[in-house]
């Protein structure tokens, strides 16, 4: 039996903390164990910090955005899943660029939060619809080059289709849909600021065959992405 994933919740509204805790309790497999809750980040630095695999982090604590604190948390060895009422694409991108594993908006919480925590604990990509939206909206000059297939899978996923429906629409398997979406996410992990969490995510993606090392070189990715290759290797999950 696999060890349970330990998680801490940092959230300034107790009602939300309670809600998240109830989703964790409701997981049929009881795969996640809540070990710590806090209303701010003060206890998560220093020697006496709690041990947890993943932090569920509300991006706005006492009225202030805490995206700039994510690199510190990642450096301290935590994996961060951002959980926020803000779904503004720029904030989502900033959060991921800072080294968060995944981004879950508050509307997506009940369906996606536990799964995102589990994926983060395994350093696997987890792309919510709000993350897909942010990737589709991304116009920054340094953004990674995504293939047509990756873009199409992200678009249909953002639009609200299930992954099975996306597969039907694109005439590919559901696993290949996951692969395209994960590959897009992995390409993002390879760009922007460096963070140990992004390296871990990328290493795992390579190990899982989601992406090949050659596909993440910033300047070769364009030609390769244009070649539009289908799924590679074994599916990740």
């Amino acid at each position: 039996m696999e060890q349970r994933v330990t998680v801490a919740i940092v959230e300034d509204h107790p009602v939300v903390t309670e809600g998240v805790a109830s989703w964790i309790r409701a997981d049929p497999g009881q795969r996640v164990q809540l070990v710590h809750t806090a209303r701010d980040l003060t206890g998560l630095h220093g020697e006496a910090r709690p041990s947890a695999d993943v932090i569920i982090l509300d991006l706005e604590l006492s009225g202030e955005l805490v995206t700039s604190q994510i690199p510190g948390l990642v450096a301290a060895g935590y994996r961060v899943v951002a959980f926020s009422g803000h779904s503004d694409p720029a904030i989502v991108m900033e959060t991921l660029d800072s080294g968060a594993h995944a981004y879950v908006s508050k509307e997506e919480g009940s369906d996606h939060l536990v799964e995102a925590v589990l994926a983060a604990a395994a350093d696997r990509p987890y792309v919510t619809r709000s993350q897909a939206r942010a990737m589709l909206s991304d116009q920054r000059p340094g953004r990674p080059e995504l293939s047509q297939q990756e873009l199409q899978a992200l678009l249909l996923w953002f639009q609200g289709m299930s992954k099975a429906s996306v597969g039907r629409r694109m005439s590919i398997s559901e696993n290949t849909v996951r692969q395209y979406i994960s590959r897009a996410r992995a390409k993002y992990a390879a760009t922007g600021r460096t963070a140990p969490s992004k390296d871990a995510l990328l290493a795992r993606a390579i190990e899982d065959g989601v992406i090949k090392p050659g596909e993440i070189m910033p300047y070769t990715s364009f030609a390769r992405a244009a070649a539009n290759r289908p799924s590679l290797g074994a599916p990740g999950q």
Partner: protein
């Protein structure tokens, strides 16, 4: 460009013209007035060379002041630095002029005063007044030092009245013209705004007319049927009512003339569905292009058809795609929905997965 910017630009042009006029006046005075007097009384000065140097110092001060003034980079420190140079030059020239008929040969009082007008005329009038008062006091002190008599005093007062009066008058006139230019620009702007409003009103009026005609075709017959005793319990009739309610709401939204009006119109369609208890999410990705009115209608018609059929929830997304926009709908319609045909550059595709309908209306730009 905003209205405020255009007003500033317009009055800015006038102000520059006034500045140029002041520059020409001051330089002209220094050359012809000051310079002429200096040459005319050349033999009378204790040292003509000294007076010539002072004249050159003032010429440089006027030159620098003019350039800075025209560039608009004359802050109060520079303005006062130049004014003080002029004050010192004028006092030194007076002190070096022959006692007795100093006022007749003194060219520098006027030139220094005009230099101050040049650099201070866009500042408060009081600053120029202070400068001129201090300058006059300095000249008067030199005279007292040289031994003042009644004739000197009379000449001093006459010159003071003439020279200082003219300088204050020029500065005040520029201020008045500036204010007039501001008012003229503001008036022109409000005239432009009025013309624009009239044109907009005409467009809105035409759009209203078109919407009223559209209502005649769809809603009026339905209301007439209801009035004639159609059964409101009939499922078919209720669906038609829901569709017309959504269309009415859309017509109102179309009149709001907001930017990003497709999103706005879709929100309006969603409002009606929400009143029926359908949870509708609307999300956008990317910077959406403007979609022309007829194409928007095809898209919102599809939205109305799908939202009317939705049982409990619907998600609408708008995303920028290569050559236009993809508006998609995912809703638990349960069954196939009759969607509008492709038209006005909008292509519509759909896929039914169990009870969930996915549909996408794509509009391509050109």
């Amino acid at each position: 460009m905003t209205d405020a910017q255009s007003t500033t630009m317009m009055s800015g042009r006038y102000q520059r013209a006034f500045t140029i006029a002041v520059v020409v006046l001051v330089a002209g005075w220094h050359l012809a007035g000051g310079g002429g007097q200096l040459l005319q009384y050349r033999p009378d000065y204790a040292s003509f060379a000294f007076q010539a140097v002072v004249w050159l110092v003032l010429a440089v001060a006027i030159g620098v002041g003019s350039v800075l003034m025209l560039r608009g980079s004359l802050d109060w420190r520079l303005a006062w630095a130049i004014a003080i140079v002029a004050l010192v030059a004028s006092t030194a020239s007076a002190a070096e002029s022959p006692a007795g008929h100093m006022l007749a040969v003194n060219w520098a009082w006027g030139s220094a005063g005009w230099t101050a007008v040049l650099v201070l005329h866009r500042r408060r009038l009081a600053e120029l007044a202070w400068f001129l008062a201090v300058e006059a006091t300095a000249i008067f002190s030199v005279q007292v030092w040289d031994g003042l008599d009644r004739l000197d005093l009379a000449a001093f007062l006459a010159l003071l009245a003439w020279s200082t009066g003219a300088q204050i008058a020029v500065a005040a006139a520029v201020k008045a013209l500036d204010a007039a230019a501001d008012r003229a620009a503001a008036a022109a702007r409000s005239e432009d705004a009025a013309r624009e409003r009239a044109a907009t009103a005409e467009i809105i009026q035409a759009a209203r007319q078109a919407r009223w005609l559209a209502l005649q075709e769809s809603t009026v017959p339905l209301v007439a049927e209801l009035a004639a005793g159609a059964d409101p319990g009939d499922e078919q009739l209720r669906v038609r009512c829901a569709v017309q309610a959504a269309r009415l709401r859309r017509l109102m939204a179309e009149g709001d003339e907001l930017p990003g009006s497709l999103v706005h119109e879709l929100h309006a369609s969603a409002d009606v569905a929400e009143l029926r208890g359908i949870a509708v999410e609307i999300e956008t990705a990317g910077v959406l292009p403007q979609v022309p009115g007829p194409a928007r209608r095809v898209i919102t018609d599809a939205a109305i058809a799908i939202l009317t059929a939705a049982r409990s929830q619907a998600r609408i997304t708008l995303a920028t795609v290569a050559a236009g926009i993809a508006v998609s709908f995912v809703a638990d319609t349960g069954s196939v929905v009759l969607l509008p045909a492709a038209d006005q550059g909008v292509a519509i595709e759909h896929q039914q997965d169990g009870g969930t309908l996915w549909a996408e209306a794509r509009w391509n730009n050109g």
